[in-house]
């Protein structure tokens, strides 16, 4: 088993805000992250796939193709966007880094060839805050 990781990045606005709560409660729970006018991040995305290298190419999967899949289904939807209101797969979800990583996993899991599988989504919100998701075990 070999693990292969492709790193991409996107810049986006968001807020942590539960619309079913009062503004005061949102500010109490989420602090400055609840600013109604949004704030933003440079997100770093690590997509790791796993499998056995093809005996003829030596490749687990063509990383160029992996990059294209990530760009088409993730980066195009997230880069320079407002994550709360412009992203179909985050609709009606709390826009935390945790949920975003799960959303990215669900977008990618069925878009890879049968010979490889998705291993992990690692998502940095800031250089010192990141989450990892390995799918439902």
């Amino acid at each position: 088993m070999v693990f292969l990781t492709r790193i991409e990045h996107f810049n986006a606005a968001h807020k942590l805000y539960n619309p079913s709560w009062a503004r005061e409660k949102n500010e109490e729970v989420f602090g400055v992250c609840a600013n109604e006018n949004w704030h933003g991040h440079n997100y770093e995305l690590y997509v790791t796939i796993k499998g056995t290298p093809d005996p003829e190419t030596g490749f687990l999967f063509d990383v160029k193709k992996l990059s294209e899949i990530i760009k088409e289904h993730i980066i195009e939807k997230l880069d320079h966007r407002n994550l709360n209101i412009e992203v179909d797969f985050m609709k009606d979800k709390m826009c935390s880094t945790e949920n975003l990583a799960i959303g990215i996993w669900n977008q990618l899991k069925n878009r890879l060839p049968a010979a490889v599988s998705l291993h992990a989504i690692k998502l940095y919100e800031t250089p010192r805050i990141f989450v990892e998701y390995f799918g439902q075990s």
Binding site: H9, N11, A12, A13, H14, V32, C33, N35, N37, W38, H39, G40, H41, N42, D79, H80, R81, N82, I85, E86, T126, P127
Partner: protein, 137 residues
Amino acid sequence: MEKKVAIFRKEHFNAAHRLFVHGWTDEQNLEQFGKCSNPHFHGHNYELVVKVTGIPDPVTGYVINLSTLSSIIQKHVLARFDHKNLNLDTKEFASLNPTAENIVYVIYEILRKELDASLDLSVRLYETERNFVEYPA
């Protein structure tokens, strides 16, 4: 000893913005600034590097107390910009386009007023790891 030494303090803030020239239509702004002018905003982890140059005090050995410098940046820059929407939440960019160039200039002017005239000041601002500006040039 009359030799000048430069001392640096790094800080960071997360903010939403859009590139937008007041007086232009949304179409004109989108044509000029592309996805950076998304009306729903996007965001960045801004990294700020503040450089202060002066002759170390003969008694303390300090150009400036770093704790003092950090407090000045915290109070006058981060409190204004961190977790804010630069276009909507700050008076500095209510009408000024929040490009990295304009942001670094505004931060320089804010900090210049807070530092002793005997000290030289330079500010570098990273919008992303690969896009950054510096003032004075």
